[in-house]
Each structure stands twice: as structure tokens, then as C-alpha cells.
Amino acid sequence: MAHASLERQLATARTAKVELESKLREKDVLIERLERDRRWLAEREKEEREEKEKDRAEHEEDKRKSDNELRSLRASLRSLTEQHADLGEQHTELSRSTSQIIATQKSQLSTLERQVRLLEEEASEFRHIAEERSRTIQEVQDRFDELTMSQDTYTRNGSDDENWAVVREELHRQANYLRTLESSNAKLNQELAVFRERHVSIEVLREEKRGLEKKLHGAEELRERVVRLEAEVEASRKEREAWASKAAPSDTPSKTPVSVTQSLSSLRMAHARLLEDHGATSALLRQREAELADAQRRESESHGSLEKLQSEVRVSKDIIAKKDHKVTLAEREVGFLQALVASYSAEEAGQEDGNVDEAKTQHIQDLESLLAEFKTRIRVLEREIDSLGGDPALLGKVQSASEKHLEKIEELEQTLFELRGEVGGGRHVPPGIRVLSLRDNPAQQWADLRQEVMDRLKSENEALMKRLKELEESGAGSGKAQHNADEELVPRESWEVVNKEKKELEDVVKQKEKRLLRLQQVFASKSAEFREAIASILGLKFAFYPNGQVRVTSQYDLSASFVFQPTPKAEGGGAKMQLIAQGEGGPIDLPQMMQYWVQTEQCIPGFLASVTLECYDKWKREQQEGVSKRFCEDNQN
């Protein structure tokens, strides 16, 4: 039982074991699966991480790029702002200048308008005045006419004649003066006030004249009264005479003439007063005129000074504007540089890379120092320009002056050339200079030669003249002079000349002879040479005769000689030779040879050659014979 239980237990244990084993297997499978999952997950994770890294790198790249872009944009922004500031400044400048121009033009316009109005007013005033004047002149003329008429009538009053003449004259003068005044009035507007015054004085005059007229009326009455009184005087005289005749004459001067003289004196007084007035007014007029001229002068002066001052002001304004501009520019520059530095430093701080190398800062410092240097240089140059006047007008003046100088230089060069020509042409020898030439120069030689010839001819001529005179004298004195003529027919000088010429000619002849001789010698030697050459080559000796004949002798047989003669040219044409004679010697068969060669063949060279051959054969034979003979003789001896 125990055993069974044990076996049961064992079986259960076995089953449990199997179960457990299966469970274990399951677990293993599970573990394996889990392991696989884990691996997969780990791969995923790794991939993810790589991806992330990549992303981060890209991001960083992007960021760097954007930073760069940002920087460049910032720089461009800065430059643009700068441009903007520039443009704004230009704009303000332009607007300033345009507004200035507009203002000046407006002011000019207003002044011009004012001037126009003023001128128009003046013109109307003047027209008005002119009309007034003409009217008054007309009136004055009328009155004057009336006055003259009345004066004509008044002249009958004898004692007043002189006064009236004076008055008329005065009136004439005044009329003239008025006319001149009118013309001057039309021209000078500034004299308006003066002329008004003048007008007033004319009014006064008119008043006076009216008064005078009235007085004249009074005078008319007075005249009538005078006539009446004269009549009365006549009557009273008659009465007085009658009384005188009746009684003693009584000295009672009439009362009427006294009244007349009284009125006359009053008139004279009035006239004097008038003249005085006139003088005063004219003096006033002069004074005013002088004042006016003075004022005008002063005005023009002040105008000039004003313009000068204005131009100065303008120049100084320009300078100030320039300076301002420069200052603003410099300020802006400084600001810009500061901003640049700030931006750089900010960048440096922001980047934290520490990569803003020192070289760059060094470079910036260098550039700044360079800038400072340039600025100082510019300042120096400006100062120089200022010291030079700084005025473009001055510059222009200097330029024109230099141009003038250049022109002058050109002129002077031209004159220098001309003067050189003077010296070169030999017309001027500079002071302190000697002109020398060699004593024995070709020109002098030529001159001397000519002089010599001339002298000789002169002396000969003189002598001949003398001789001629002598002959004439002797001709007159006939036979007596015959003896002298025999003595000296030709003057000595001529004889000398002829003698000299003769000597020269003799010299020439001698020279020629010598030359001829030399030539002959040369010719002789040459011809000998020639003959020898022919003799040795052809074996023939030639002798040329003056008549053209040629004697030919064989070298090998001296007795065989022939004489040839050139045929006349008309026959053969050319120099054909003709055999005309022969020596007594020669080969035995000479006649045949002559027959054959000369007559049949007509070949003299062939004939001569065969003769030579024959002669040579003969000569050779003779030689051998002679040798053998001598040999024999020698042997015999």
C-alpha cells in the first residue's frame, strides 16, 4: 500500500513534473517573446534617438543660418537707416533751399509789384503834373501875350520903357526856365516835390502877375489920367505962359507927375521883391537838387554795401551750412560706429563663442585710426583752401591768370623763334661774341682767285688804254711815233698774260706728250706680248704694216712668208684677207695648197695651218738631219 501510495505519489509527482515542465516551457516561450519585444523596442528607441540627434543638428544649422541672416539683415537695416537719414537730410536740405528760393522769389515778386505800383503811381502823377504844367504854361503864355500886348501899348509911356523891357526880358527868361523845368520834370521823378514847390512859386508869380495886371489896369487909368493931366498940363502951361506973359512965372510943379512916379516906384519895388522871391526859390531849388543827388549817391552806396554784405552773408551762410553738414555727418558717423561696436559686442555676448577674433578688433581699430588720419588730412586741406582764399572766384582768377601767362609764354616763344631767326640769319650778332672764320677758307680762296683775275685784267686793260692813247697821239703826229710803236707794240701786261698762258699751255702739252709716250710704250709692250702669244700658239709670226697689210711668216720656215691685205669692205663685208704676195721659200707643193685652200675653199686659216704643218715636218727633218750630221761629225772627230 505504501508502495501504491508511493507509486501514486510518484505518478502524481510525475504528472506534476510534466505539468511543471510544460509550464516551464511555456514560460520559456514567454520569456523569449518578451526578449524579442524588448530587442525590438530597444531598436526603436535607438532609431528614435538617432532621429532626434539629426533633428537637433538640423535645428542648430537652421539656427546658425537664421543668426547669420539676422546679422546681415541688421547690417542692411543699418545701411538702409543710414541711407534713409541721408535722404531725409537731402530732402530737408532741398526743402530748405526750395523754401529759401520761394521766399526770396516771393520777396522779389512783392518788391517788384511794389515797384510796379510805385512806378504806375508815379507815371500817373507825372501825367497829371504834365497836364497841369501844360495848362499853366498855356495860361502863362496867354498872359504873357496879353502882357506883351499891353506892354506894346504901354511903351508909349516913355519913362516906363526901360522897366518894361526888363520885365519882358525877365518874363522871357522865366518862360524858358519853365520849359526847361518841364523837360527835366518829365525825366526826374525825384524832383517832384521840388517842382511842386516850383509850382507854388509859379502860383505866387501868377498871383503877382494878377496883381501886376490889376496894377496895369490901374496904370491904364493912370495913363488916361496922364493924358488928361498932360492935356491939363498943356492947358495949364498955356495958362501959365499966359500967366507968365501976364505976370511973373511961378514955380508950382504939378501934382499928377508925382503920383505917377509914386506908382512907378511902387511897381519897381514890387518887381524887386518878385526878383528876390525868384532868387530865393531858385536857390532853394538848387539846394534841394544837391540834396537829392547826395541822397541818391548815398542810396547807391548803401545799395552797394548792402549787396556786398548780403553776398558775404550768403558766403558765410554757405560755410556754416557746410560746417553743419559736416558736423551732422560726423555725428552720424560716430553714432553709426558706436552702433556697429554695440552690435558687435552684443553679438559677441550673445554668441558666447568667443570667436570674435582679436584680429577683427585690431582691424577695426586700424580703420578708426585711418579714419582719424583722413579727417585730419581733410581738415588740413580745408585750411589750405581757406588760406588760399577758399573762393572759387579766386581760383578762377588764378586759372585765368595762368592761362594768360601761358598765352604770354607762347607769344614769347614765337618772338624767341623770330629772334633766333635774326641771329640765325646773321643779322644780329649777340654782344660779347666774335664771328670768326678760318683765314684760308674756300670762299676766301674763290674771292682771292677772282680778285687776282680781276686785277690782272684791270692792269691789262689800263695798259691797253694807254697804248691806245699813244697810238692815237702817234697817229696825229704820224711818222714820228713809228719808232716807238716798233719798240713796244703790245703792252707788257698783255705780253705777260700771254706768256703765262703759253707757259701753261706748254705745260699741258708736255703732260700730254708724256702721257702719249707712256701710252705708246704700253701699247708696244702689249702688242709684243700679243704677237708672242700668237706665235707660240699658232706657230706664225705677224708683222702689221701701217697700210693695213699683214705679213705672216712661219716660225719653222722663215722663207715661207705671205702678205695679206684686207679686202675693201664693199666687196666682202667684214675684214676678209687676201693673199697678195708670197716669199720665195715654202713647201714644195705650195702652189697646190694655194690652189686648194685659197682658191677652192677660200679658207686662209686652213691654208696657213697646212703650210705650218708642212713647214714643221720639214723643219723637224732638217733638225734630225742636222743632229745626225753633227753626230757623224763628232764621231769623225
Binding site: 640765325g424 640769319g425 646773321g426 643779322r427 664771328v435 670768326l436 672764320s437 683765314r439 670762299a443
Partner: protein, 209 residues
């Protein structure tokens, strides 16, 4: 080719060297004028290579002697600076009127005062080229100078300073052989200069226009 021809270390030309150069130039200039203007017959001249061109030089012994004598004296004067001008005057044989005056002004080249440094010496090839140009110009003047159809003779005048040393037995004061003012024309020719002398040439001639 050029660098090998000119020695780069050549010294500046001396007074003596310059004087010799100028004297030689006168010799060839005078010969050229005498040939070109037909003062002597053409057969009297023979060709010589000089300054890299053909120059005609006289063979007439008398003329050669005359020129030698003058040039020797001119050489002496040049060394002492006693001569300021040389003139070759061509004169009509018959009327004895001066027809042409070939004037050579001799100036001393002045070193600009104040500049301490000596200017670089002028290469001899350049001087020779200048001389060549003058001689060529003399030849070419035949084209515009009036034709001389009468026999002529010439004389050489030297303009010297009063203080110059003058051999009295050979040289005499003379007439400057002036050309009539109303008929005178002048043409400036080229010039040449060494480092010491500067020669300016000119021809004045009589022109009955």
C-alpha cells in the same frame, strides 16, 4: 637684344666724350650739307657707314684738310666752352650773296639746381638716334629749300665768346654773312643732346618769293 647692347654700368658721358661726339657730328653734318646742296660735285663724295646709316663724306683733299683744321679748333673750343654757334654759310660765287646759313647752336646742358641726385646718363644709342634724325632732316630739307642753280661756295663761321682762346694767325674776324632781312626765312630743325652739350640746328635761307 637691347640689354646686351647697352652696358648697364656705363659711366655718365664725360666732357671730352661729349665734345668728341659733337665734333664728329659736325663733320658729318657739314659733309651732308655740302653734298645735298651741291656745293661740291657729287663724284667727290664716297659712302661711309655711320650712325647706322650711309653718310656721304668728301674725298677732296683740300676740303678734308680744311674741315679737319676747323674741327680740331672747334674741339678745343668745345672743351673750354668758348664757342656758342657754328654756321655753315653757302654763298653765291657770282654775286657773293649769302644764300643759306646752317646754324648749329651749342648750349651747355645745365643740371637743374637744387636736385642733388644726378639724372641717369643718356644712353649713347639714343644720342646716335637723335643725330641720325638730324642728318635725315638735313637730307629732307632739299624738298623745301629753294633750288640753287648757280655755282656756290661755302664758309664756316664760328661764333665764339670774347674770352675764348683764338689762334690769331689762322682765325680772323669776319662778316657774319647775313641774309637780307626781308627775304630771310628760317626753319628750325631737330636737336640732339648729350649729357653735357645740347645742339640745336636751324637753317635760314634767302627766298625771293
Amino acid at each position: 637684344m637691347a640689354p646686351t647692347k647697352q652696358a648697364p654700368t656705363r659711366q655718365a658721358i664725360t666732357l671730352k666724350g661729349s665734345t668728341n661726339l659733337v665734333t664728329e657730328f659736325f663733320k658729318y653734318a657739314v659733309n651732308t650739307i655740302l653734298f645735298q646742296r651741291g656745293v661740291y660735285p657729287e663724284d667727290d663724295f664716297h659712302m661711309v657707314k655711320k650712325y647706322g646709316q650711309t653718310v656721304l663724306v668728301t674725298q677732296d683733299l683740300a676740303l678734308e684738310n680744311y674741315l679737319d683744321k676747323i674741327l680740331k679748333q672747334v674741339n678745343k673750343w668745345l672743351l673750354t666752352g668758348g664757342v656758342t654757334q657754328l654756321v655753315l654759310a653757302i654763298i653765291s660765287k657770282d654775286t657773293r650773296t649769302p644764300l643759306e646759313r646752317w646754324v648749329f647752336d651749342i648750349n651747355l646742358v645745365e643740371q637743374p639746381a637744387g636736385s642733388s641726385e644726378v639724372p641717369p646718363p643718356k644712353p649713347e644709342s639714343e644720342i646716335q638716334a637723335e643725330i641720325r634724325y638730324i642728318l635725315k632732316q638735313i637730307v629732307s630739307t632739299v624738298t623745301f629749300l629753294p633750288i640753287m642753280d648757280e655755282p656756290t661756295v661755302f664758309n664756316i663761321l664760328a661764333y665764339t665768346s670774347e674770352s675764348a682762346d683764338i689762334p690769331a694767325d689762322e682765325w680772323v674776324d669776319t662778316d657774319p654773312l647775313a641774309i637780307e632781312a626781308s627775304k630771310s626765312q628760317q626753319v628750325k630743325l631737330r636737336s640732339f643732346s648729350t649729357d653735357v652739350h645740347r645742339i640745336e640746328a636751324m637753317v635760314a635761307y634767302r627766298y625771293d618769293g
